[in-house]
Amino acid sequence: MKRRTLLKTSLAASLLASTGMLIPGRVMAAYPKTAFQNADATAALTEVFGSSDYAESGDIKIKAPEIAENGAVVPIQVTSSMSDIESISIILSNNPTPFAASFNLHGSIGFVSTRFKMAGTSDVLAIVKAGGKLHATKQEVKVTIGGCGG
């Protein structure tokens, strides 16, 4: 998977992005309202984390059905055994507003599970913020059209 590097125009952001470091410490302090309303996944990530630059990680596991029987209820679980996990976020690339959920994990155990609405077949992108950096993995979930009118 390619390393994605979409930068916001501010100098500070580009400096931070080029050193691979994000603003350390704070978990998401407040509800990232505009991120949830953003039609652009990359822009939403930048709003929330200051950058959308992430490293592919094999230490993030997504458990989701290969084929979702009904896009209204798709169980998705994300686990990771990385240390210092601050948050786990989920992006559903084919949803009208892809930034779907974010979890601040104060207890630091990398495990979240919930049920999502998926508008169509798409990648599920799980983003883990750990040690001040973004790590991610993705998995495709097919959302099918039933034959009996759904």
């Binding site: 059905p65 290969e66 084929i67 979702a68 029987e69 009904n70 209204a72 209820v73 798709v74 169980p75 049920r115 099918t144 059209i145 039933g146 034959g147 009996c148 009118g149 759904g150």
Partner: protein, 277 residues
């Protein structure tokens, strides 16, 4: 004479599909019906047909198991329990009408006094009417909260619907049987076409569920509905999906269909409520 000819012609044209002969007894029908599915799905144990499509489709079963682990209808069961235990304005309650909440497996049955089929939803509203309470709607809402609680308490009980030796009961049974095997709608499909002859096959990305076990798990929480629904709600949707006009919930047609179909699942256990897609 001409009318008779027409009647015969129409009778032949709308003839029944499916492997069941018209002159057989209900118990012969039952044996043939269940054997059909046992033969068609040799890898599925008969008692597992209560899980519908998930008993024959391992891919969707994973999602089903994940959702059933903490199912969305659990909140409705609690609400239903509260409603069941709350006295009516006149001091009586559901406990005066039902021996216990766990009676889902006893419905529907033939009532010889009235000559009609009594469904659980019908019995609930009859109970309310006798106490001077307003009836509940028959497809969704509070009705399904109560039936969810009652179904939950009935889990594990075996269905043993009776077709007594009474021509009225047989009429209802045969009416339901006719509905199941009769082609209808713009798509000209009978229930038996999809849920018997082509069960297990795909309709786009849907696998067609076997009719054996169809009625054991109601009320059903459908992801599509985002909530619970009664058997007649589902029947209505099915009729409309083949572009046929649906019948009124708790009318004679659907009561007959429910009677026939539940009888066909005799020997299976109640496992409602349950989630479906």
């Amino acid at each position: 004479m001409r009318k008779l000819v027409y009647a015969i012609v129409i009778g032949l044209v709308t003839s029944l599909t499916g492997p069941v002969a018209t002159a057989s007894t209900p118990s012969e029908d039952l044996a043939a019906f269940q054997q059909f599915y046992v033969d068609r799905f040799p890898d599925t144990q008969k008692e597992d047909f209560i899980d519908g499509i998930y008993s024959i489709d391992p891919v969707s079963k994973e999602t089903f198991d994940s959702i059933e682990e903490f199912a969305p209808y659990e909140i409705d069961i609690e609400k239903g329990e509260e409603m069941y235990n709350k006295p009516f304005a006149n001091g009586s309650g559901y406990a005066d009408c039902f021996a216990e909440p766990g009676v889902r497996h006893l419905y529907p049955h033939f009532d010889s006094k009235s000559g009609s089929i009594v469904t659980l939803e019908g019995a609930i509203n009859a109970c309310r009417k006798a106490a001077g309470e307003k009836p509940l709607k028959y497809k969704k809402g509070s009705m399904t909260a109560i039936t969810a609680y009652m179904a939950y308490e009935s889990r594990g009980n075996v269905f043993d619907i009776k077709i007594p030796d009474d021509s009225r009961a047989l009429d209802h049974y045969n009416r339901g049987k006719r509905h199941f095997y009769q082609k209808r709608g713009q798509l000209n499909l009978a229930c038996a076409d999809c849920h018997m002859n082509y069960s297990g096959n795909n309709v786009r990305a849907d696998r067609l569920s076997p009719a054996l076990g169809h009625l054991t798990h109601f009320p059903v929480y459908r992801a599509k509905w985002g909530g619970l629904g009664t058997p007649h709600r589902r029947f209505g949707g099915c009729n409309e999906q083949v572009r046929a006009k649906s019948f009124p919930a708790q009318g004679d047609e659907y009561k007959a269909l429910e009677y026939f179909l539940t009888y066909m699942s005799n020997g299976l256990v109640a496992n409602g409520p349950a989630t479906r897609k």
